[in-house]
Symmetry: C2
Subunit: 475 residues, 2 copies
Amino acid sequence: MSMLTSISGFPEWLPEDRLVEQAFVDLIRKKFELYGFAPIETRAIEPLPVILAKGETDHEIYVLRRLQASDEENGKVTGDQEVALHFDLTIPFARYVVENRGKLQFPFRRYQIQKAWRGERPGLGRYREFLQADFDIIGENRLSISNDVEVIQTINEIVAELPIPPVRIQLNNRKILEGFYRGMRIPEENIHAVLRSVDKLDKVGEEHTFQQLTGSLRILPETARKCIQLGQIKGQDSTRVINAVRSLEASHTLLEEGLEELSLVLDACRQQPGNSVVADLSIARGLDYYTGTVCEARFVQFPQYPSLLGGGRYDRLANTGSTQFPGVGLTIGITRILGLVLHEGLLRASRKTPTCVLIALVSEPLRSRSIEIARILRSREIPCELFPEAARYGKQIAYAEKKGIPYVWFPSESGENWGEVRDLRSRSQEPANPQEWTPPEEDRAVTVFRDEEASQSLVRKSEEPVSPTLRTKAG
Amino acid sequence: MSMLTSISGFPEWLPEDRLVEQAFVDLIRKKFELYGFAPIETRAIEPLPVILAKGETDHEIYVLRRLQASDEENGKVTGDQEVALHFDLTIPFARYVVENRGKLQFPFRRYQIQKAWRGERPGLGRYREFLQADFDIIGENRLSISNDVEVIQTINEIVAELPIPPVRIQLNNRKILEGFYRGMRIPEENIHAVLRSVDKLDKVGEEHTFQQLTGSLRILPETARKCIQLGQIKGQDSTRVINAVRSLEASHTLLEEGLEELSLVLDACRQQPGNSVVADLSIARGLDYYTGTVCEARFVQFPQYPSLLGGGRYDRLANTGSTQFPGVGLTIGITRILGLVLHEGLLRASRKTPTCVLIALVSEPLRSRSIEIARILRSREIPCELFPEAARYGKQIAYAEKKGIPYVWFPSESGENWGEVRDLRSRSQEPANPQEWTPPEEDRAVTVFRDEEASQSLVRKSEEPVSPTLRTKAG
């Protein structure tokens, strides 16, 4: 295996970065569980028709074929249909709920932390393989707006407690956009195209959006201007937001419904400590399955970095014909967040391995003594490893230092004398008994801490007039 | 999404089973970390040549193509090579080590818990998508046999502490088999074919193996009989095992080396409490990359269930031309183990959700009171959820009971009076304050316990003369 084959868009971390990722995922998982979401995983593949049924065209899809399939089988994985890797966790979840509807209790609250794949061009924060953390509430036939409130409040609380730079959560409601466009008499068949066009307003600018709306979409200039003005409304005060929308003089019952839902969610979040939710009427989400509340979030200091999380309400994604399963939920882009956090060194692991104590090998005849010490320490939940050969002490210590292992144990041969433990940072060394010796709690397991200097440096970068060139570590 | 599309070989668990799987994986991860293995993950795909370079033919491979690729691109994911889903975690790990050799400290100890994919025919304990937990030690240019000892001792200790039926770990050494065959003057080009044939001795029986060896492999009947006799040697006493091999009168330096290595590992394991390691000279492992120690494990009561874990020493898998990276490690088949454990109900989660307390919604005006109680409980790390609507109490209690949530909180409206908490098992109900109320520790998080009745029933089944029909739950 001499082939070196780094594949663009498929990031891999070194152990010290994986330790950060693992701690980050553990924290999110713990939060999800505190909020009463139950874990599931779905298979990595879905039948191609299931994936394509949602009108998804933006995301490139990876289709599978069996290498050793016969010609008649045409490479297909199962008998009669093509399968592909999932590009999100929402569509598989909807399929899972329909499949297991008889065995689940509704409203069903689940979280799901898994990889997803998209054949997109890799770029700033954009990967082809990435880890996502989803949480959703799904109901049987109905799901009240209070669930939207809860999901947005939950992410508002979680984001405030994550060890990452400040985040702004941008909230909107599809009903506002669709109701407004209908009120403006935009033809039904153009509604989704207008949505997608306005969704990119912040990215491509007013002029370009105007061209698009009045050009291929044939919208009257005055209407196009109002659509753009609608997309420019932002704020935390629901009354002001509503007044701003009303001043554009569109009228439609769907618009009214959307405004009511939006202000309910917005007002509830204003009561939360550390609230970072802002109404932003340009947010539409690219995916076609959203029907109400939609939301995204970005780093406050890096608005050009792609959205860190997103999601919303989907009333018609899952159904059996007779039963609807309306849902609302969000996806946290773990790999995207860590792409910036790890690249900028904002979070660091205290060492490169779980090992707290390296048990030195003094001599080959003393190996069983080293093994015995390790066994006792492990039974007391102290992570340790043995140095595999009787090398000189300097070499064994150097190995520990390179990995950031804080302690080295030098065993002794006599029965009651278990040898000495050296703290590699203070260089102090003391006799110790494996039945009693206990490291300080902060040394026992790897800890992950914020690097304040890196954070300061990032703040400085964000204040520079020219936007920083953020490159992903494993882009 | 009305399409129901269960795909054979791609198992999915209900939340209550995923909770068991998660606890199981957490336990294994904790063990790996206690033994000083550092976590990594590798991307799900590898270039096809990397996967095929190891002479792998038994495992069907899933190749990827981009659905929307242009004709010139021929569906390829990257510019010039095909990529496929990995079928194990050892080959990706070897590639990762070679790629990151300048940034790792050797010997490098890593664990890796990820899905892998094989396009095999699904069957008893055989899946197309499955979760594996690997741990390996890899060295730079050399890796002493003491690492083999440590890896086998580690799995011997871990297996003893897992909440699963008794397991037998079967140990062998490729050098014994290859040295023996060479001593028997079996032509070099047939060695691997003989290995693979003898590896299936337990499965297909003596007669069938004899036919194979003397038939297409053209081995003399007397030699074939000795090869089979070698494969039939089993035992925990290394001296007896060695004597049994010697009685077959083969001679080769590689055979001697193998016997020495095997007895070193076997003797070390005999000193461990709860030792379940047995020399079994039929074990060869299907994969071509093993060069020394090999091992597998099976349930003692279900020898016909496929191997639960396996691995060994690979001296030539990773290299850069000038540098070799010899390694030794094992794979625990999580999905395979849980396939039996969950199907037989041997392990059960105490409830179907992490939620410890359901906060009832007394009336719409009291919603903010419910939210406040939830916020306080969560800040004290007590998992809870809100019932989303002001339904009658009976309905709210029924929801909690179906999910196994032990407590329901009925909020009250007056300031100092926070309402009452009902224990759904004892049906006792008492006034409580969310700042102070604390559930018993065993109720706070989901616990996973052994179902003794199911275990007894399994033991009975295994004692029946006809082998039980074990079907996988999500086969």
